[in-house]
């Protein structure tokens, strides 16, 4: 059984088939990229995996376990974290608070203990903060620790969102267009971080990306989609030269 498996997943909105019987498997420690023109169903697949959408048919398996019926908040506890295309941060909270929310799936303290802020809660808080500081150091976010998100530039928010996902100590991370809205320099940083996430933190990466230079630099395998259907699957070079992919992007 592979590490993560999508088995013939289909998503229908009324008459529109957004994702049409898509299947693929991801190996542990892989950087797997989904590409495709606008409306191909890339983000829909992400939303299916993080259980924001219910699939019309098909199953999802993670570490051999069927996760198709789980609630969205249970997905995070299994070790699947994600970022969003349009950045979904908690805008009126500090960056530190945002990252600490990333630790939420590891909290074990009870409500009444937190009301009294018992020593056990304090100890847990310190452990969370320690982990958060490591991620802050990993992504060079020190200058923004106490800043409110609403005042931060777009590029920084993008990194903060990545940091929040990493704070949950995921085994699989879903990155929805990590480079969108970033300049060339920031995109280069992002490509280094994505590789470091795999090699240093040992996290498997599934990402959706449009920037082909970034895809070529980091991906092990690429899946090309169009109109919800799989066009081809292979190494970045193979996929880029595949006639169907060229046709989908440039027209037949």
């Amino acid at each position: 059984m592979s590490y993560f498996k999508v088995d013939a997943i289909t998503l229908r909105f009324g008459g529109l088939v957004a994702v049409d019987a898509v299947s693929f498997e991801i190996e542990k420690g892989e950087i797997f990229t989904i590409i495709g023109p606008n409306g191909a169903g890339k983000t829909s697949i992400f939303n299916l995996i993080s259980r924001l959408y219910n699939p019309t048919s098909g199953r999802l398996y993670f570490e051999g376990r069927d996760i198709t019926e789980l609630a969205p908040h249970e997905i995070a506890r299994l070790g699947i974290a994600r970022t969003f295309q349009n950045i979904e941060l908690f805008d009126n909270a500090s960056m530190l608070a945002n990252l600490l929310v990333g630790r939420h799936c590891h909290t074990k303290t009870k409500l009444w203990q937190e009301m009294l802020f018992l020593p056990s809660v304090r100890a847990a808080e310190k452990a969370h903060r320690h982990m958060v500081e490591e991620i802050i150091e990993f992504l060079d976010l020190q200058p923004y620790r106490d800043k409110i998100i609403a005042g931060l530039p777009y590029g920084v928010r993008k990194v903060v969102e990545l940091a929040r996902a990493l704070c949950s100590e995921p085994k699989l991370i879903l990155l929805d267009e990590p480079s969108s809205g970033l300049n060339v320099e920031e995109t280069t940083d992002m490509s280094f971080w994505i590789r470091d996430i795999r090699t240093e933190l040992g996290i498997t990466v599934l990402m959706v990306e449009h920037d082909m230079s970034l895809v070529n630099r980091v991906s092990d395998r690429v899946l090309a989609l169009n109109y919800g259907k799989v066009l081809t699957l292979g190494t970045p070079a193979e996929v880029q030269n595949h006639p169907d992919v060229i046709a989908a992007y440039l027209g037949a």
């Binding site: 969205p72 909270a93 939420h104 802020f117 609403a150 929040r164």
Partner: protein, 362 residues
């Protein structure tokens, strides 16, 4: 301006961030404790109402300010707390039992209200909470065997294991103050632990909260329950302070007064709840003065029926238009002005517009 150099996680975790606060809040608390020996009985009584309003303000701040779930039904929670206290006292149950029980019972009702509220957002949730308030008001008027209906109910003086505290006395004042301080400490503790952060996460982005492992339903219900329970405590104190309770005291207008407490105070911090409570309690004598003190036509104008509601509406609009951050926001701005003098710029508190949110995912 003070810069704290952080070398320890505890510095960030503890409630009192630096020594200056120990002094300023210590002095404030000492002054409040001495107040009953200095103030006139009228002002002391007003202070008790400030504390009760502030307790409800903290409750509403947790639900609306931090979790982002609006409620215009908190007068009903107050009523449930008040009637629980009144009824149980009349049955001979001691205060030390019915005071916490008022919180537990009201919290339970909060859970019941919380569950249907899970599927409602924004204006629909507001309507549902208004409906809840009206239902409770009606139940209080009809359930005569317990509430004595529209006749109302007398509430005897508070009695802690034989120590009688008359409603105008210093002991009752201190008890209300202590309850407020206790509630504030619990709220602060929640805010610095995972539950409080989960509340804020739900307020700012439900989609992201879900995918970070926050059980939306669970935490929204928790927020409703905590908020209701705290309001129940305030209700028990309110019953003793009024010494007489009847259904028409817990109307929609009272719920709106509570919402005003947090809007006027500033719905982003616990300071706001207290400042808003001071404003709301002190506005009443001002309105009375306008009605009775002004001569001729002006006095008649302010004496018209429904004028109170109209003036409240005007105040809410003025705050939303000109000071959406409320009194606490204004206080922070004034403080910053002096800290940065002469470099303060108006734009400091202007926030960048947020980017498109995926509303469709919620």
């Amino acid at each position: 301006m003070r810069f704290t150099f952080k070398t320890d996680y505890d510095q960030d975790i503890r409630i009192v961030k630096h020594g200056g606060y120990v002094w300023s809040y210590g002095v404030l608390l000492a002054l409040l404790a001495l107040a009953p020996f200095v103030l006139s009985s009228y002002l002391q009584s007003q202070m008790v109402f400030v504390f009760i309003y502030a307790i409800v303000g903290v409750a509403l701040m947790i639900l609306t300010g931090f979790t982002g779930q609006a409620s215009i039904g908190h007068a009903a929670f107050l009523a449930i707390g008040a009637y629980t206290a009144g009824y149980m006292q009349s049955k001979g149950i001691p205060f030390v039992v019915y005071f916490p029980l008022a919180a537990v019972l009201t919290g339970g009702i909060g859970v019941i209200v919380g569950f249907p509220a899970l599927r409602l957002h924004g204006i629909y949730l507001v309507i549902a909470t208004i409906a809840f308030g009206l239902i409770v008001e009606e139940v209080l008027a009809r359930w005569e065997s317990v509430t004595h209906g529209n006749e109302g109910m007398r509430v005897k003086a508070l009695d802690i294991l034989g120590w009688v505290m008359p409603r105008d006395g210093a002991a009752f004042y201190v008890l209300t103050l202590l309850t407020l301080v206790g509630v504030l400490v619990v709220a602060l503790n929640l805010l610095r632990s995972p539950t409080g952060r989960a509340f804020i996460a739900i307020r700012d982005s439900e989609t992201a909260a879900k995918s970070m492992g926050i059980d939306l339903a669970g935490y929204k219900v928790k927020s409703f329950a905590i908020s209701a329970a705290i309001t129940g405590l305030a209700g028990a104190l309110f019953a003793h302070k009024m010494s007489f309770i009847s259904p028409e005291m817990f109307t929609l207008l009272l719920s709106i007064e509570f919402i005003m407490v947090i809007i006027i105070g500033g719905a982003f911090g616990l300071h706001g709840a207290v400042m808003g409570a001071v404003f709301m309690v002190m506005i009443d004598p001002v309105l009375t003065e306008l009605k009775d003190g002004l001569p001729g036509a002006a006095g008649r104008f302010f004496g018209m029926a429904g004028m109170k509601g109209a003036i409240y509406g005007l105040i809410i609009m003025m705050f939303i238009l000109f000071e959406p951050l409320g009194l606490y926001g204004r206080w922070l701005k004034i403080k910053l002005f002096f800290q940065l003098f002469p470099l303060y710029k108006k734009a400091t508190f202007k926030r960048q517009k947020t980017y498109v949110k995926s509303e469709r995912n919620r």
